[in-house]
Each structure stands twice: as structure tokens, then as C-alpha cells.
Amino acid sequence: MSINLRQLALAITAVCSLAVGPVAAADKNIFSATYGQGFIDIDPSSANSNEIALIANVYEPLVWYTPGEDGADATFSPALATSWEVSEDQLTWTFKLRDGVVFHDGTAFTSEAVKYSIQRTQTLDSGSAWIWWMVTDVETPDPLTAVFKLSDPAPLDLIASSAYAAWMMSPSIGDKDSAWFNEGNAIGTGPFKLRDYQPGVQAVLERNPDYWGGAPEGGIDIAVLESIEDSVLREQKLLGGQTDWAQNLETDNLAAIDAADGVRVNRAAAFQNFFGQFNTARPPLDNADVRRALSMAFPYDDFVNNIMGGTVTQARGIVPLGMPGHAADAVQYSYDTAAAKAALDAAGVAEGSLELTVTYTSGVPEAQKAAEVYKASLAEIGVTLNLEPMTWEAQWERAKADPAAAQDIFMMSWWPTYVVAYDFLSSLFHSSDEIAYNLAYYNNPDFDTMINDANGLLANDQAAAYAGFASAGKVLADDAPALFMYDTQNIVGINDSIKGYSFNPAYSGVVFLNKLSR
């Protein structure tokens, strides 16, 4: 045995010493980013998840969304459109297009490409294609003018800046389907071209030398976007210098990562939050007093500051802080077990009689922590909470099937398709016959009217629309159809040698490669 162990050790050292450095490529500036989830669908018409990390560098929209600094209003900055205007009746939007832009295959970018892209997305009708529901036609009076005809007034500049389904692609793609894209094909106008694509594993992008916007000094030549599901592996690769950027790091390790040489942690407010929808379709949670009592039984401070290490902030209502339409004067519940117990008594719920189930997606660490902590604090007021972790699909299917037999609390995270408070308010709490994401089964006609009215104002009078969303948000928070836990931050680890990284909350997970330099 000892002989063989020695031989084994010898073999290992031999292999190790064999390590001749691979062919160096000193003249190339390589950047790699490590994601927690693989890219699945890179068809710009239908992609609906973190694939935008790739798409936003290969394709461009007409308009970019740029969040305001320090509380200032957000602005829309020109991308492939240089200017735009809306008609008196709000039903015609005219976009002037950038001159001299070519797609990666040499096709010129014209109004025909705009028409093609919007119509392809509408025809495919997949992912977030619904954002264009009010667009009836795209007219092309000349190559550099695209005119959108609408059936209903809508803030088309905002919609055109969507993170999903608003990307411009080359008409030379023709009638190719999603499968063609997912074989590793892409024809956009962006600063990077797709060089190699392995679905779910990685994508290699290389600089597009013909990009209209040029390149920064010391810009990136090649970018590797890879996915590794294990947070500890992402962290180790970042610390070891094998990757330059990594997302979804374990919150408890952030201090150590920040303290390590050569890497820093970048934090920025995200338009994303985490909450638990109460089942309002069934007693006793159909009683708002009971829901308010349960909202007072979550240890917000301890969870936010201690368990999540200050990486998140306690939510105030459903629309995250920093998003237009956030309800700044909505009620924010605080942890008070005595008050919670008294409220339960007052609502006629006898101590020890209430048993609730919570479902959450297994493998999401913060969901598990939140559920475990909530279970313990509910136990203090005599409420039993049963935890049921399951896959997202199973969790969702069960919730949609029959509200009367469904879970009591549905925990999930939400972020908008394009930056509008209506996305949160309507998707999650608007009453509907067909259940999609209103998994609180919340049915409040007054609330529905409020948000629909506000949304109707969005194209004409943004200030009034945001005020409308805020007052609807206030009503919602008071009614407590959900446990509003926290708003998240976007937290990434990044190599110190990389300059120019900033986070745009409208495009979650995207590293804008053409802004980076080393």
C-alpha cells in the first residue's frame, strides 16, 4: 500500500510539473465574467432571462434607459435612434435613426431593420414580446426614419429601452427561428460579435472593429461569459484571478472578498425585491388584520442587517426604492411580536391554532434563510410555519392550480421587464381570471382601477402617473397582501485592474463590455 501511495504521489507531482504554460496571448486584452446561471435562449426576440448579458453587448436597442444619479429622474439616451418625438394624440411615435451603422454581416441598419425586428418579435410572440402589444404597424418613410403606429397611448421610449424583446437585428436573418440563434448565430450592431457559443456553459465574444461607437483606450478584445452554478467556485476563481467579474457571491464572504488583494466588491441598488405573497383567497389570511399581524412577525432588522449582512434593505411596499412610482409614504411594518400577538387575538385567531405553509424555490439560499427565520419568529406568537422547498416549476404549478388548496405564503423575487412600477403592481396584484403571478390571489377592484388609471397617464404626464402608482402602492402596503421583506442590491466582485464598470438596474446582470478597460 505504501509503495502505491508513493507512486501515486509521484504521478501527481509529475503531472503537475508538466504544466508548461499554455501559449501566451499577451497582446490580447481578455475579460471574463462568471455568472451563476447558464445562457439558454439567445434569440433577441424571445430571450427572457440573464441572456441579456450577452445580447446587450452584441445587439443594441433604439433607446437606452439611464437611471438618474442621486435621486434625479431617469433619462433615455440615444442608442440606434438619435431622437424621437410623439404626436399630439400619442398614437404615433417617430424615431430618427443613427446614420452609417452596419450589422456584423455588413447589412446596413435602416428603418427596414427596425420594422423587421419589431415584427419578428411580435410574430414569434414569446418571452416579453407582449411589451409591443399596442404597436399596430411600423412605417418606413425613409431609411433613417421609423414611425410606430399605436392602438393605445403608451410610453414607447420607455418600452423601446426594455431589457427584453427590444433588440435590433439584421433583416438578413430572414425567417430563421430561435434554434438558428441557439446554434451560436447572432447578427447585431453591437460593439461585440459572438465568436463561440456553448449553450448553458459559455459564450466567447470578440470586439467588432467596425462598431460605430469606437472603443475606449485599453478596451477589451475578447470576453468570455461563462456560467458556474456553485457560488464558492465563482468566488475562488475571482480571488485566484481566473475570472475578472463574478455575480451572486455568498453575502457572508463579501467582507473577505473586499479585503482580499486585487479584487473589490461593487454594490448598487437594483430594481429587484424579495417578498412572500399571502394567500388572500382563504381564511384566515383573507382577513387583512391577520396579514398585518403576520407582517409584524418578521424580524426585518435582524434579517437585513445581521443575516444578510446589510446587503439588502427593508422593503417599503412592493415597488423598490429608487424606481419611479415607489411609495415613499407607504407603511413599513416593524418587528413587534407583542403587537402581532395582540392583533391575532383581536382578529379572533386563537393561539396555537394557526398552521401555515410557505413554498419557496429550493437552492435559493436567501429564501431558505428567510423561511427558517420566519418560522422561528412565528413560533413565538404561536403560529406554526411549515417549509416546503421545491423547484420553481413545481412551486408555480401548485400555486396556479387551485388557490383553495394552495400554499399560504409564496416566496419569490421580482424584477421588471422594463422600468415601470406598473410591472410590479399589475403582474403581482392585479386581479385576473387566469392566475399567473398574482399568487396572493389578491382581488381589489379599487386598486385595479388606481393602477390602470395611473398607467394610462404614463405617456402624457409621467409625474401624475408616478404619483398614481405611489398612492396605489400605499393602499397595497396597508392591505398587506404580501410580506414585503427586502429590496436587493446588485453585488458583484470585480478585479481591480478593470476600470469603467457600472451597474444599470434596468439591465440586470449586464456588463457593458465596451465601457471597460484594463
Binding site: 501566451a24 441557439n182 485566484g240 423547484t391
Partner: protein, 339 residues
Amino acid sequence: MGFKVLGKRLLMACVVIFCVSVLTFLATRILPTDPAALYAGPRASTAKIEEARLRLGLDKPLVLQYAQFAGKALTGDFGVSYRTRQPISKDIKKFLPATLELVFIAMLMAVVVGIPLGVLAASKPKGCLDQISRLGAIGMASFPVFWIAMIFQLVFFSWLNWLPLSGQFSRETMLFNPITVVTGFNSIDAILSGNWAALSDVARHLVLPALTLSLYPIALAMRMTRSAMGEVMQEHYITTATAMGLSRREILFRFALKNALPQTITVLGLTFAFSLTGAVLVEVIFAWPGIGSYVTAAILAVDFPVIMAVTLVGTVIYVLVNLLVDLAQASLDPRVALS
């Protein structure tokens, strides 16, 4: 061995595979989760889901659905994965070699390390070496694979920094020194294309996952060889050989092992099975893009077509390997009849 017996065995294998396919098919269809909704993807409208139902043929009776599934599976078409949106056969073709590379190394280790150790242990039953190897083998078989994998990463990457943490090769190899795909096995392809820099990189990445995966097979090979040898060593001809003054080494390896070999061959079949499933855990820890990580991700995404396809392919490989092992055993030892 007669062809008739062989034919019967093959037929049995086919029946078993058929039953397995029916069972997995039924199991995935009696679930409350709607495959059409999964196929249509998140935020899909009811109309899209109904369209998916028609496209997948889910509106047809179960028997027809099974016939369709089996017919396509026979031609290697397992449909499209809900999660990766890629044809499953293409995915399997891409991920299977990475797993087999690990599995073959583990089996090789079982033969090269495990069997000789078993022979040595058998040379002096109840001796010191025998006791140590018994404890060693039982110990190796008692480690949780995923845990020992983490400990290896801690020691060889974090502390010693001898070996890479995870993956199949470094970023530089992938970008500037890519391996030409011939067989799909990275190490073999690197040799075939004479890409030595890549080969050393690939070898370095292989060490930890392969070592982790081989622990159990080595232990198994040691114990099985030891027990097979133990029986042979009590036979009269060994005693005779010893009396004739043959050297201990010659007796052990020329006579005893040869006669214990048929039983030891069984080790190969068993190690193959255990490595195949052990690979699931090893690949998760080492971010190894093999069939194990593929099926784990599929399970977490309720990607039934993939779960079914991998279970089926795994079973077919497993049944075939067992058949081969039985045949090898029969040809080595005429006393073992193929019943």
C-alpha cells in the same frame, strides 16, 4: 458458449430496457406538473401552452405517446430539452465523453491500484498488511464523495495550489490552444492532434475529479480481489505449488490471481456502475461539464425529457457493460455457464 445462450441474454437485456423505458415514461407522466407548460417556458400564455401541448403530442392517448417516444428514442431522438432548448441527443453527445473520461480513469485505477493491493492483502491472510488494507478499503468506501471532493479542493487548490480548482481546461487553452474535437475525449483528442500544451492542462484538470471518483472503485476492487483470492489460496494446488518451492510472488500472480480473475472481472462491472453515479456528485463539485451535471440541472428544472433520456441511456450502458462482463467471465472460466 453457444450463440443460442448469447441470443437469449441479449433478448433479456432488451426486455429489461423496454420495461425500464415504460417505467420512466409512466413515472414522468403521472406527475401533477404539466409538460406543455414547462415546454412553453415561464410567462407563457394559455394559448402558447395549448400550442405546445399539440406540438408535443400530449393530447394523444398515453399508449400512442409512449409509442412515439420509444420510436424516436430508438433512432436516437429524445426530443428537445426544456431547459437548454437543445436537442437532447446533441447534449448527451457533448456531455457523455467528459463523464466517460472520468469513469474510465476510475476503472483503470481500480484495476491498476485496487487489484494488486487486494492480491498483496491476500498473500498473508490476517496479516498486518491484510488488516490495514481491510480498514483502508472500508474507510475509503465510507467517505461521502461530495465531501471528500471538497476536502481535496481545499488541500490541493487552496493550500498547496498544485492543481486547478474546477473545469476541464484553462481559459487560455480554450481561447488560444483549442483542442480539435475528434473523439470528444479531451485527453485523447489532445494526443491525437499533438497538442501537448493542452494535454498537460487537461491532465492537470483531470487529477482531482478522477482521484475523487476512483476512491470507491479502488476500495471495491481491493475487497473483491482479496475475498476471491482468499478462496483460491485455500485450494490444494496452491499448497502443492508452495511445497514445490515456487516463489511467493509467482504463486500469487501466476496461479492464484489467474484463477481469481473471473470473479475479479465482476469488479469492473460494479466499479463502472458506481463511477457512473458517483460522477453525478463529482461533476457538481468540480463544475465538470459532464452528463452528471447535466442531469442534476435537469432535475432541478424538472426537465423530464432529459431525466428520461439520461436514465435510459445510463441504463442501456449499464446493462451492456454487465452483459460484457458476464461474457468475459464466461470466456475466462469455462465453468461459469451462461444461464
